[in-house]
Amino acid sequence: MLKSILSGDFPRSRILSIMLVLTFIGLAVAPFMLSGARPLNTAATICIFIVLVASYDLLLGYTGIVSFAHTMFYGIGAYGVGLALDAMGPSWWAVFTGLASALALALVLALMIGLFSLRVRAIFYAMITLAVASAFAILASQLSDFTGGEDGKTFKVPEILSPGFKLIEAEIFGRSIDGKLLTYYLVFTACLLLFLFMLRVVNSPFGRVLQAIRENDFRAEALGYRTVVYRTLANCLAALIAALAGALMALWLRYVGPKTFLSFEVMTDILLIVVIGGMGTLYGAVVGAALFIFAQNYLQSLMAEASEALAGVPILAQAVHPDRWMLWLGILFVLSVYFFPTGIVGKLRNRK
């Protein structure tokens, strides 16, 4: 049963298993354990980033494709749902229409980028995706009548997902069953299913071909696999899942904007998480996203407290000032790459 759910891909490390189980339980009960908007926001972001990063790892870690267009697909999903809800009003029909058009657009773009450029050398492919993604981001900001420009757009979501909605009057474990909670569980469930789906894909016959292409595309061709077809399919799959992640994030935030969904910072976050967690293993996305998003959200406040506590000590208080949090995140990243070049998961699996 478990074997089938996890597609036979077990963590293969006791510490990793514990980390994964804790992350799963933590995310599953988050709304009941934590009060306030911020912790729940962190939990939802972790869920969505696990899926976003795992779908990127399908390309980078499994197939060996370097793409910088992943945020574009994430943005397409978000804008699709967001703009449809904005234009058509808060109905499920709008969500569905927006999502369907976003998925169609993502598919067409991924197919085109794939067929035109996956034949060329990896470095050119990376450049092309970078160019297309930048053009798309600029376009989204320029078309401000339609997209809300730099400021983006806030919109209403279907009633059942809106914060004011109450499913039942009673509270459960001291938590009212409101729209925010329902949205959280929509996000959580969708992300869980998408993750398990990807786990299945990488452990399917198709997934092994992707790994073979990463290892030696010349030989994969000699075995009869048309690598362009496989690469393009991987590209489309990753793009569709990224778009779904974007749609979930838009529903969660009830907002779309270029900074949150299309900026290059999101792309670097994805890259950092893949590398920290470990390339070529989807569990790396789970561990990496959980740690990274947590650090991103709490490092600053932790540092503020530390800074206050160290108020008397001259240099230290300065060093841990909240304004330096990016510096510390950078240092953490460099250290983690230095000490775990195969990522956290690679490191844990190799300890024997």
């Binding site: 016959p205 073979a212 075995l223 496989y230």
Partner: protein, 261 residues
Amino acid sequence: MTTAVVPEHPVLSTHGLTIRFGGHVAVNNVSAEFRPGTLTAIVGPNGAGKTTYFNLMSGQLPATSGSVRLFGEDVTDLGAPQRTKRGIGRAFQLTNLFPNLSVIENVRLAVQSQAGMGLNMVSLWSRHVELMERAEHYLHRVAMADQRDEIVGTLPHGNKRKLEVAILLALEPQILMFDEPTAGMSVDEVPVILELIHQIKAQGDKTILLVEHKMDVVRSLADRIIVLHNGFLVADGDPTEVMSSPIVQEAYLGTGVADHV
């Protein structure tokens, strides 16, 4: 075993096949036909163009001019995957494997391609027992069943060469191209591979092309010898005839390969 192919018809042929790398013509206007049930040895000094000729036939390299016909169809414009699908299989001279995957996974990838299952995204790779069993069968044939789960990158050279052959067999091709299959193998590994090639030949329906420097091997296996020299086909025919012809004595045996004899 029966095949639809009448032995008189070549399954594979090249017509004026040529490839130019910059100013260098590595294979120059080579025409030859290969018939089922035969084993053709392709010999020639280092750099003669033997591997390049193979690459042109199996689609790893595009021809500058000339054509390749496979089972009566012009495949000159098709890539390697399409030609593999039509029944041509390669074992490479420089081992060319998937280094971070296990031995069984390497063979399994060939079995899966042959079975046309590569696009299946939803079933578990490990659940396809019949494919796994076929992969194991081919590992047995090259005497590598004990190395089943080892990571290929860590194997000794001789084992990598044997794995090359297992992968070729797993493709179940009609045309098998071996490029110096025993080079760099230890003395006890060589007979395993030669015996295998012998068995495939004995089946009588496969077409085998073999690049080989060791003349004793060529003599014991080949029905026919083709000699390449500087990209040209300089001799083609019966082994004893070819080996004694003046052009071969000069072109081949005169260039320091004689010590392989």
